[in-house]
Amino acid sequence: MSSDGLRVDGVSVHFGATRAVDDVSFTVAPGETVALLGPSGCGKSTLLRVVAGLERPETGTVHWANEDLTSAPPERRDFGLMFQDHALFAHRSVAENVAFGLKMRGQRAAESAKRVSEMLDLVDLAGFDDRSVEALSGGEAQRVALARALAPSPRLLMLDEPLGSLDRALRDRLATDLRSVLAQLGQSAIHVTHDQDEAFTVADRVAVMQAGQIVRIGTPFEIWNDPQTAFLATFLGHPNIVEGSRFGGAPGPATLLTTALTKAEGDEPLRVETTVVSQEFRGDHFRVRVRTADGSELVAHSTHQHPTGSTMTFAIDPTGLIPLVD
């Protein structure tokens, strides 16, 4: 089978007895961004290191187009990697950091200067050229690392938890910026993260990893609306794993989206009577924990506060009840 872009086939990596990566296959099309999403320790960073050439797989292959890269050293792959801790070269200035990859490709300083300033413009750091990287803020360092990784125009850019160390607000903003930069450049990318919001924001497709395996791969929309397994539903933050038959669905486990639980108006066919157990204020909504008559608990979102012990009746949207495979 021949294809453009990255093709990872049956890759496994073992550390002693643990299978860090277990028979993983996936592809990244040119211009596409794929997020590797999973809890910490699921093997996503190891998989990234295999693609980068920093880790040798025991089995499996890594191809770019028709070129077998499985045993090529990292410096020969023409891939870029941006580390979680940025790994900036403390002994070099911002511009020298960005120019490093160009220098390694034999460009002279004069030639690379233009590209460096383009890159700094791109990440909104024009004029930072001569600063010491040790004097940068977290967000600035992150953007320098991005510019450095992008400067040599790698065929594939890999980002390992690039926003991991930043605070929430900055993260949200930079994730959006990142998406637009990648789109602007038509850059193929793999984005590793444990944060689904970030993955959904940045990626065209998301590959969810669990215990060394990719358990699901698809667009953010597909995955969110059809998590398929209880693990994935929980991991994505769906709080309500229920028995489907109790809410008008097929027998077996299902997830009931919080958006499918709305305040009953009085005429809905499917309703459930509950008592409020507790609630947390979440800014734009209240997260309310309620108990049903049979003693099981559900989580619902509400715009209003409800006293503990008070009664709430919800209408259930049957399209929000998604069956799960065992």
Partner: protein
């Protein structure tokens, strides 16, 4: 490749002489003469004295150094940085210069005869040892103290402990790794002290170290000297084991301890007393000998002037060459020794940082000269390279090679932590940006280690400038006469002119060494990873 270079150089110039020495010592120890000496009551007394004076030197240095360590660790006062920087100078000063300085103090203040006599007494030796090692205590303990968590002591105060109780029960135990580490270093230096004992101790004083020299050089009894050196090696090896144990504890404490640097406070009230006391006594201890030395060097038959300095250019028959030429030798050899130490130590550090099979071995092996006394090393070279085709006793280059061996651990111990401290991510980042292993070494490892390399080389340079113990075994020729051996020879002679020359030469040597110490301070700064692993 780097590993091979380091191991070959080291194996040949250090391993081979030391093994030769050990074998000769082991062989001869059963013979009549060496065993008579080693197990004679006279030698037992000498061994006991060596130990005793080292213990007293250590305790005295700790007592004198602790207040200054405290002042530096806790308070921000005018001149703090200067004080801290100036402390390195006594540590790197050549032993013969210090001996000359103390002798000039004794003569100047009439302590050579009269009611209080310090000249040729154990007190002179102890004073000189405190002078040398003061910086070790202040910097090792002071730096550690800065990062010690103050909250336990504060908690103790809240729980009702007095300031003194809190200090004794909480702070001192917290400082223990640093105290043990500093004490071990001071003990080692005092135990293997050579030039100071010979010059300040008078003819009657002997330690194991000076006995090795006496048997080898004065008595030409190499078998006895080798047996004594073997004993010294064993004693020092035992000590090194203890030191490295303490060091590893200190490292661990560094890693696990609170790294949050507590803020320095402005001193007030009685705290000023401690600062004045510490800075004042340090200035007196180190300043008086240095200034007296300078004053004596300017004193001529007809008042003050530069006659002693001018005389350095003329050869006196006591020396194989002029004092000025000896100084030129010293500086050239120090440059060479620093360069060799830089290459070999740098290669070794790089190899050891790669975590290859022999890494730990390299790390330990190349640190050995630090524990091998200079005299043992000198004797080893003398008896190992004594037959053609490897008769190097009279080759001029054996001097810088010997000095380099002593300087290598300083480079290694400075550079290795830096290289080990480079995050693997940095190298990986470079690799994914297209840097092959060679480019990584050139672009990442080398530039990041430059500062530590410079500091290590400056240490090696300073050590070479002042090296006396090992050099005193190299037969004197015009090309092997260094400034310290010339000073030693000049100081041993009566006559104001020769002494004046010795003082003038000492002052110049001191200035050159101090300059390299300032380079060390400038680059090492507060970077705790570097500084020869000591300071």
């Amino acid at each position: 490749m780097a590993l091979v270079l380091a191991v070959c150089f080291f194996g040949f110039f250090f391993g081979y002489p030391v093994i030769t020495l050990v074998i000769r010592g082991l062989r001869s120890i059963a013979d009549d003469r060496p065993s008579q000496v080693l197990f004679g009551s006279a030698f037992l007394r000498i061994a006991w004295f060596s130990l005793w004076q080292a213990v007293v030197s250590t305790v005295a240095t700790l007592i004198v150094g602790l207040p200054a360590a405290f002042a530096l660790a806790r308070f921000d006062f005018a001149g703090r940085a200067l004080f801290r920087a100036a402390l390195v100078v006594p540590f790197v000063l050549p032993t013969v210069v210090v001996a000359g300085a103390f002798e000039s103090v004794f003569t100047r203040f009439g302590l050579d005869s009269g009611a209080i006599v310090l000249k040729d007494t154990v007190w002179a030796v102890l004073l000189a040892h405190v002078f040398f090692n003061y910086a070790v205590v202040v910097r090792v303990v002071g730096t550690y103290w800065e990062s010690v968590d103050r909250r336990p002591a504060q908690a103790a105060r809240v729980l009702g402990a007095s300031a003194r109780t809190a200090f004794v029960r909480i702070t001192l135990p917290q400082l223990r790794p640093a105290l043990v580490s500093a004490a071990a270093i001071v003990f080692l230096f005092s135990f293997t002290s050579f030039g100071v004992i010979l010059l300040l101790g008078g003819p009657g004083m002997a330690t194991i170290e000076t006995e090795i020299w006496r048997y080898a050089v004065n008595r030409i009894e190499f078998d006895v000297a080798a047996a004594v050196a073997l004993l010294q090696l064993l004693a020092v090896a035992a000590l090194i084991t203890l030191t490295s144990y303490a060091e590893s504890k200190r490292e661990r404490a560094r890693r696990t301890g609170t790294q949050a640097k507590t803020r320095l406070t402005a001193p007030r009230g009685r705290q000023w007393l401690i600062i004045f006391g510490a800075v004042g006594s340090a200035t007196a201890l180190c300043g008086i000998p240095i200034f007296t030395l300078i004053e004596r060097s300017l004193l001529t038959g007809s008042g003050y002037g530069f006659a002693n300095y001018e005389a350095l250019g003329t050869q006196v028959s006591l020396l194989p060459t002029s004092a000025a030429a000896a100084l030129t030798n010293s500086v050239s050899y120090a440059l060479m020794a620093a360069a060799i130490a830089l290459v070999v130590g740098g290669c070794a550090a790089w190899a050891a940082s790669q975590g290859s099979a022999g890494a730990r071995l390299v790390d330990v092996g190349l640190t050995l000269p630090l524990g091998t006394s200079a005299v043992t090393l000198g004797l080893g070279v003398l008896i190992a390279f004594d037959r053609s085709p490897i008769d190097f006793r009279s080759a001029w280059w054996i001097v810088p090679v010997l000095h380099a061996l002593i300087g290598i651990p300083f480079v290694l111990r400075g550079v290795l932590p830096t290289l080990r401290g480079i995050s693997p991510r940095i190298r990986e980042a470079a690799a994914t940006l297209g840097a092959d292993p060679r480019a990584i070494r050139r672009e990442i490892d080398f530039p990041l280690a430059t500062k530590a390399l410079l500091v290590g080389a400056a240490f090696a340079f300073a050590v070479s400038l002042g090296e006396f113990g090992a050099t005193s075994f190299v037969p004197r020729r015009p090309s092997t006469t260094t400034a310290p051996t010339a000073i030693f020879r000049l100081l041993g002679q009566p006559g104001d002119q020769l002494r004046g020359q010795a003082m003038a030469l000492s002052v110049i040597l001191m200035l050159v060494t101090a300059a390299s110490a300032l380079v060390i301070e400038r680059f090492a700064g507060r970077d705790r990873a570097s500084g020869g692993g000591f300071l």
